[in-house]
C-alpha cells in the first residue's frame, strides 16, 4: 500500500511522493487518497477472488503522516474485502518525527504488528546532508515507544556512506540502533539518484559523490556490529534477530510471491504479470472515481526475464540460490565464483560470502552471462 505524502522532500529521495504544497490545487489529500485506495481494494477483491492476506505493508512516502486513524481504516477495508490470514504480518513505515506513543497505540489497536522507522543516521550532520527533519535521538525513542505500545516487530532503516559521514559516525548510528532493542535492521548505501536535489549538488561539485570503497568498509562494519549483537543478515541489506523477525512481506517480493500494490504508482505481481498504477495521486484518484483501472502499464515476464529476476533476487538471500535453477555453464561460473571467494556452495545452494555480498551484482551478471554466451 503506497502512501504518497511527505512533509518535505529529502534531497536524495526519488520515490513517488509529494509534499502538501506540491499537491495544492490538485484536489489530492489524505482523504481522497483513502477513498481511492478503498475503491482499488474493492477492485482487487473482484479480480483476485477469495484469498486471505498473509502480509500487509504500508509504505511511502510517509504513512505516519496520515495518522493512525486512516492507517486503521485502510486495514479495516483489507479485512472486510479479503480477511487477514491467521498470524498475518502487518507493517507500516513511519518517519520518527510524525510518531508518538498514542500513534503506536492506535496502530496496535488497529491490528498492526510491525513498524519500520526511517532513522538513516544518528549523526546530526549526516541527517542534515540527507535533509532529514528528525533530531538524532528521535528515531531510537520512537522505536522504544513502538515496542512499549506492543508492536511486536520494529525495524530501523539506516543509510550509510553518506558524504561527510565518518566511520565513527556510522559506529554511533549502529550502536544507537542496537540500544533501541529492535529485532530488524535495514541498511542501505546511499544512492545518488538521477533528478534528485542531491544529484544536482554532486553535479555542481557542492557535494562529493559517495565512495564505493568507503561504502564497502562501512558495510563490513555494520555487518560485524550487528552480527555481534545477534542480528544475522538474511538479505544483502537486511538483518534480523531471528527467523521470525524477518520481514515476510519483503521475502514475498524476493521469492516470487503474488501481491497487489494499492495506491498511486504502486507495483503489483500476479502469476508472472507485473503492472503498476499511474503515479500522480490526483490521476490515480480520478481513475478510481470513474471506476476505471488506475493501471499505467504492465509487463508479462518472459521465461528469460523470470529467470533473471529469480537469480537476481534469490542470490541476495542468506538462504541462497537453488543450484538446480542454473544450467551447466552457469554452474561452472558458480564454481569459478566459489573459487574466487564470492560464493559458498552448500547443500545444493549458492550462497554469497561476505565479499560476494558486496559484489553481488557482478556475481549475478556473470551467472546470467555464462548461460547467455555459452555456445549453443
Amino acid at each position: 500500500m503506497h502512501v504518497p505524502f511527505c512533509a518535505s522532500r529529502c534531497g536524495y529521495c526519488d520515490f513517488n511522493t509529494y509534499t502538501a504544497s506540491e499537491l495544492q490545487g490538485s484536489g489530492s489529500s489524505p482523504d481522497t487518497w483513502l477513498e481511492a485506495v478503498r475503491r482499488e481494494l474493492t477492485r482487487a477483491r473482484a479480480t483476485v477472488g477469495d484469498r486471505a492476506v498473509d502480509t500487509v505493508f504500508v509504505g511511502g512516502g510517509t504513512p505516519s503522516l496520515i495518522g493512525a486513524e486512516r492507517l486503521g481504516a485502510v486495514l479495516a477495508t483489507i479485512r472486510s474485502e479479503f480477511g487477514l490470514a491467521p498470524g498475518a504480518e502487518v507493517t507500516t513505515e513511519s518517519n520518527p518525527e510524525s510518531t508518538s506513543p498514542e500513534f503506536f497505540a492506535g496502530l496496535v489497536e488497529a491490528g498492526y504488528t510491525r513498524v519500520s522507522l526511517g532513522m538513516q543516521s544518528a549523526a546530526p550532520h549526516v541527517l542534515r546532508i540527507l535533509d532529514r527533519r528528525h533530531t538524532p535521538g528521535r528515531a531510537v525513542d520512537a522505536a522504544r515507544e513502538a515496542r512499549a505500545a506492543g508492536i511486536a516487530h520494529v525495524n530501523l532503516d539506516l543509510i550509510y556512506a553518506t558524504p561527510g559521514e565518518t566511520t565513527a559516525d556510522l559506529r554511533g548510528s549502529v550502536e544507537a540502533v542496537l540500544s533501541a532493542g529492535v529485532d530488524h535492521v535495514s541498511a542501505y548505501s546511499l544512492i545518488v539518484e538521477d533528478g534528485t536535489a542531491m544529484a544536482r549538488k554532486v553535479a555542481r561539485g557542492e557535494l562529493p559523490a559517495p565512495d564505493d570503497d568507503v561504502a564497502a568498509e562501512r558495510y563490513e562494519l555494520i555487518d560485524d556490529l550487528l552480527s555481534a549483537a545477534g542480528l544475522q543478515w538474511y538479505e544483502v541489506s537486511n538483518w534480523a534477530s531471528s527467523a521470525g523477525a524477518r520481514c515476510r512481506h519483503n521475502l514475498g517480493y524476493w521469492l516470487d510471491g503474488d501481491w497487489w500494490g494499492v495506491g498511486p504508482g504502486a507495483h503489483s505481481h500476479l502469476a508472472g504479470r507485473r503492472w503498476w498504477n499511474v503515479k500522480h495521486p490526483a490521476r490515480y484518484a480520478a481513475a478510481l472515481a470513474e471506476s476505471a483501472d488506475p493501471e499505467a502499464d504492465h509487463e508479462v515476464l518472459t521465461p528469460t526475464e523470470q529467470h533473471t529476476e529469480r537469480v537476481m533476487l534469490r542470490l541476495r538471500l542468506a538462504e541462497g540460490l537453488d543450484l538446480d535453477l542454473l544450467d551447466a555453464p552457469a554452474r561452472a561460473e558458480a564454481d569459478r565464483a566459489a573459487a574466487a571467494d564470492l560464493l559458498e556452495l552448500r547443500g545444493g545452494r549458492a550462497i554469497l560470502t561476505r565479499r560476494g555480498r558486496l559484489l553481488a551484482d557482478r556475481v549475478v551478471q556473470d551467472l546470467l552471462l555464462a548461460s547467455e554466451t555459452a555456445p549453443a
Binding site: 544512492i191 564505493d212 507495483h267 505481481h269 555480498r357 559484489l359
Partner: protein, 613 residues
C-alpha cells in the same frame, strides 16, 4: 521545361567546363546552389542548402566529401551556352577529388571567403589548377558578411594569382549577389574545350561510383569523338569491353541522352558491378575502330594512414567484410586486408588518405551497415631494414620486428601553414616540437605569413591540427603533401595489462616521445578501465624495459543496496543494462575492457570534425 542544355552534342565553342575550388567552408557548395537556381535547373521549391552534398554524412557535417558535376544552361546576351560545373571538397583528405575534377575542366573558380582571406587549401588547390594549366577566375565570396574585408583580400589574391585587385570578382553565394556576372565572366574567360569530333572516341573517367540500383555509374569527360548508347566501349588500360546501357547528363538529376560529344561531361552505365573495372583516370574508347593512344592518366592516391577496424561483437566480422567490400566500390582510395589482434579478435587493417577519411569511413560503416566498431590508433607506413638486410614494410605496430634493426624510415610531408604573422613564434615552437624542419617563410601580405616545413607524417596525423588551431586562436590553416621518407630513431611502445601486452595499444613513436606516450596511455587506461575483482597493473614498455606503470585497484563494492519495494522491474532493467554493457566488453587475459575504453584511449583529441575548421 526543356532548355538548351537538355540536348547533347553541343558544339564545343558553346561549352564551358569549370570547377569551384576553395579552402573548406569558403562557400563552394553554396555558390553551386545559386548557380543551380539562377540557371533554373532547380526550382525554387525543390531547393535546399548545399543541394549537391547528397550523402547523409555530408549533410550532417556540412562538408563536401565527394565532388559532384552538373550541367547548366546559360545565356550571355542571345548566345546560349552549356556549363559543366563541378563542386569540389575543401578538406585536405579529399584533395584527390579536386585533382580528378580538374581533369574534366578548362577553368576553375578560385573562391575565397572575404572575411577570412587566403587559407592553406586555397593555395594548395590553386597550385593544382595551375599545374593543369587551367584558367583561374578569382572570386571573393561572402561579401554580405559585416566582417568581410574585400579590398584587403582582393589585394592578397591578386598577389598570389598574378592579376589586378580589380579583376577579383565579388559575390555573395548566400544572397546571390554577383553570381550572374560571375557566370558571364566564366563564359568569357574560360576557353571552350577542344577536341576532334571525327577522331576515334576518347573520354577520360574522372569519377566512378557504385549505385545500389544502377550498378557502377562512370563519369566521363569526352575529349575526342562521340560516346553513344548501345555501342560497345573499351577501357584502354585493361582492354576490357562493355555494353553501354545508358549515356546521360546530370542536370541536376541523371537524365539519359542520345550520347555525348566533344567537350561534354556526363555519365555512362555499363552494368559492371565493381568500380575497379571502371577506373578513375582510365580512357574510354569505342570497341570498334577505337583510339590507340590513351589520354594522360591520373594516378590514384595511396593510403597515408593505417588503422585496424574491429567489430565490437566478434560475430559481426563477416558483416564488416561485406560492408568494406561495398564501401570500396565507391571509394577506391580505401584499402583493407584481414588481420587478427590478440586483444580485439578478427578485423581489418585499413588504409586511408587521412584522419577525416578514416573517421568518415568508420562512421559510414557504423551507420549504413549497422556495425559497432573499434578503430585502433592510426599509424603511418614504416620501412624497416633489419640487421640481416631484410626490408620490412610495417603498416601495423604488431609487425614491428623484434630483433635488432639497422635502419628505420618514415614518411615525411611538406607542410604549408598560413597564419597571421603574430603567431609565427608559437607555430615555430610547435613545429619544432613535432620534429619539423623549417623550409621557408613568406609574407603573403603585411600581416599574413606562409610557413613551409618538412615533417614526419606521423607527427601531424594525430592532434597537430588541433594544437595548431588552439595556439593561433583558430586563425591558422594547414595543408600538406607527400615528400618521400627519412631515416628516424623510432621505437615501439607496448602497453601491458596484468603483464599481457595489448596489441591494440602498441604504438611506434620517436625515441624521445616513448616515455610521454607510455605514461599518458597508462594513466588514461587507469581512468578508463573499470575496476575488476582483482588489482590490475598497467605497464608501458619498450622491448623488455618498463617505462611507466599504473595500477587499477580491485573493486570492493558492486551491489545495489536500496529498497525498491515491489518495483522489481526497475531493478531487473538496471541489471539488464549493466549486463549488456558487460557483454560488450573485450576480455584481455582476465581483464574486462569496455569498448568505450578502447575508443577513448585510441582517439586523440583531434577528432576529424574539429580538423574540419
Amino acid at each position: 521545361m526543356t532548355t538548351y542544355a537538355d540536348r547533347t552534342f553541343t558544339p564545343p565553342e558553346r561549352i564551358r567546363n569549370f570547377c569551384i575550388i576553395a579552402h573548406i567552408d569558403h562557400g563552394k557548395s553554396t555558390l553551386a546552389d545559386r548557380m543551380l537556381q539562377i540557371t533554373g535547373v532547380v526550382e525554387e521549391r525543390a531547393m535546399r542548402a548545399q543541394y549537391l552534398d547528397r550523402m547523409d554524412i555530408e549533410r550532417e557535417r556540412g562538408i563536401t566529401i565527394k565532388a559532384q558535376n552538373v550541367r547548366l544552361p546559360w545565356k550571355v546576351g542571345d548566345e546560349e551556352y552549356v556549363l559543366h560545373l563541378i563542386d569540389t571538397p575543401g578538406h585536405v583528405d579529399f584533395t584527390y577529388e579536386v585533382s580528378r575534377a580538374l581533369e574534366a575542366c578548362e577553368g576553375a573558380i578560385l573562391l575565397v571567403d572575404a572575411a577570412q582571406g587566403i587559407e592553406a587549401q586555397t593555395l594548395a588547390n590553386l597550385y593544382l589548377a595551375l599545374e593543369k594549366d587551367l584558367t583561374i577566375i578569382p572570386v571573393l565570396n561572402k561579401i554580405d558578411l559585416p566582417a568581410a574585408d574585400p579590398d584587403r583580400y582582393a589585394a592578397e589574391i591578386a598577389h598570389i594569382v598574378g592579376c589586378e585587385p580589380e579583376d577579383v570578382l565579388r559575390v555573395s553565394a548566400k544572397t546571390g549577389m554577383g553570381v550572374e556576372a560571375l557566370l558571364d565572366e566564366a563564359v568569357k574567360q574560360i576557353p571552350a574545350p577542344q577536341g576532334d569530333a571525327d577522331a576515334p572516341a576518347r573520354a577520360m573517367i574522372f569519377d566512378s561510383v557504385y549505385d545500389t540500383y544502377r550498378g557502377v555509374v562512370t563519369y566521363i569527360r569526352v575529349v575526342d569523338g562521340r560516346i553513344v548508347p548501345r555501342e560497345r566501349i573499351k577501357m584502354m588500360s585493361t582492354g576490357a569491353t562493355h555494353e553501354l546501357l545508358e549515356v546521360g547528363i546530370v542536370s541536376p538529376e541523371p537524365k539519359p541522352t542520345e550520347g555525348l560529344g566533344v567537350g561534354e561531361v556526363g555519365y555512362l552505365i555499363t552494368g559492371v558491378k565493381d568500380v575497379r573495372q571502371s577506373k578513375v583516370g582510365d580512357t574510354v574508347t569505342s570497341q570498334r575502330r577505337g583510339a590507340t593512344e590513351p589520354l594522360t592518366g591520373y594516378r590514384e592516391p595511396r593510403p597515408m594512414v593505417y588503422s585496424g577496424l574491429y567489430p565490437v561483437d566478434g560475430s559481426q566480422y563477416p558483416d564488416l567484410r561485406e560492408a568494406l567490400d561495398k564501401l570500396q566500390l565507391n571509394d577506391a582510395a580505401l584499402t583493407y586486408e584481414p588481420e587478427t589482434s590478440a586483444a580485439l579478435g578478427f578485423g581489418f587493417r585499413c588504409g586511408f588518405l587521412g584522419l577525416l577519411h578514416l573517421e568518415i569511413t568508420r562512421e559510414r560503416l557504423e551507420r549504413e551497415f549497422d556495425l559497432d566498431l573499434i578503430s585502433t590508433a592510426p599509424n603511418v607506413v614504416y620501412q624497416v631494414t633489419t640487421d640481416d638486410g631484410t626490408e620490412i614494410t610495417v603498416t601495423n605496430p604488431s609487425d614491428w620486428p623484434e630483433g635488432k634493426v639497422s635502419e628505420i624510415r618514415e614518411p615525411i610531408v611538406k607542410v604549408t601553414i598560413l597564419a597571421p604573422s603574430e603567431f609565427v613564434g608559437t607555430i615555430m615552437e610547435l613545429c619544432q616540437a613535432r620534429r619539423g624542419q623549417l623550409g621557408g617563410m613568406d609574407y603573403l601580405s603585411e600581416s599574413r605569413v606562409e610557413l613551409r616545413y618538412t615533417m614526419p607524417l606521423a607527427e601531424i596525423i594525430f592532434d597537430f591540427f588541433d594544437a595548431l588551431k588552439s595556439r593561433t586562436r583558430g586563425y591558422a590553416s594547414l595543408d600538406y603533401e607527400e615528400a618521400g621518407e627519412q631515416v628516424s630513431d623510432l621505437v615501439k611502445v607496448d602497453i601491458l595489462l596484468q603483464g599481457e601486452p595489448v596489441d591494440a595499444f602498441s604504438a611506434i613513436v620517436h625515441k624521445d616521445s616513448a616515455y610521454g606516450y607510455g605514461t599518458s596511455m597508462a594513466s588514461k587506461l587507469r581512468e578508463l578501465i573499470p575496476r575488476q575483482q582483482f588489482e590490475v597493473p598497467i605497464q608501458a614498455a619498450v622491448g623488455s624495459r618498463i617505462i611507466a606503470r599504473e595500477t587499477i585497484r580491485a573493486i570492493r563494492k558492486d551491489v545495489l543496496a536500496k529498497c525498491y519495494g515491489g518495483d522489481i522491474s526497475r531493478k531487473r532493467k538496471l541489471l539488464e543494462k549493466q549486463k549488456e554493457g558487460k557483454k560488450r566488453m573485450k576480455t584481455i587475459g582476465r581483464v574486462d575492457v569496455p569498448q568505450e575504453a578502447f575508443v577513448a584511449a585510441l582517439s586523440t583529441e583531434s577528432s576529424a570534425d574539429k580538423a574540419k575548421k
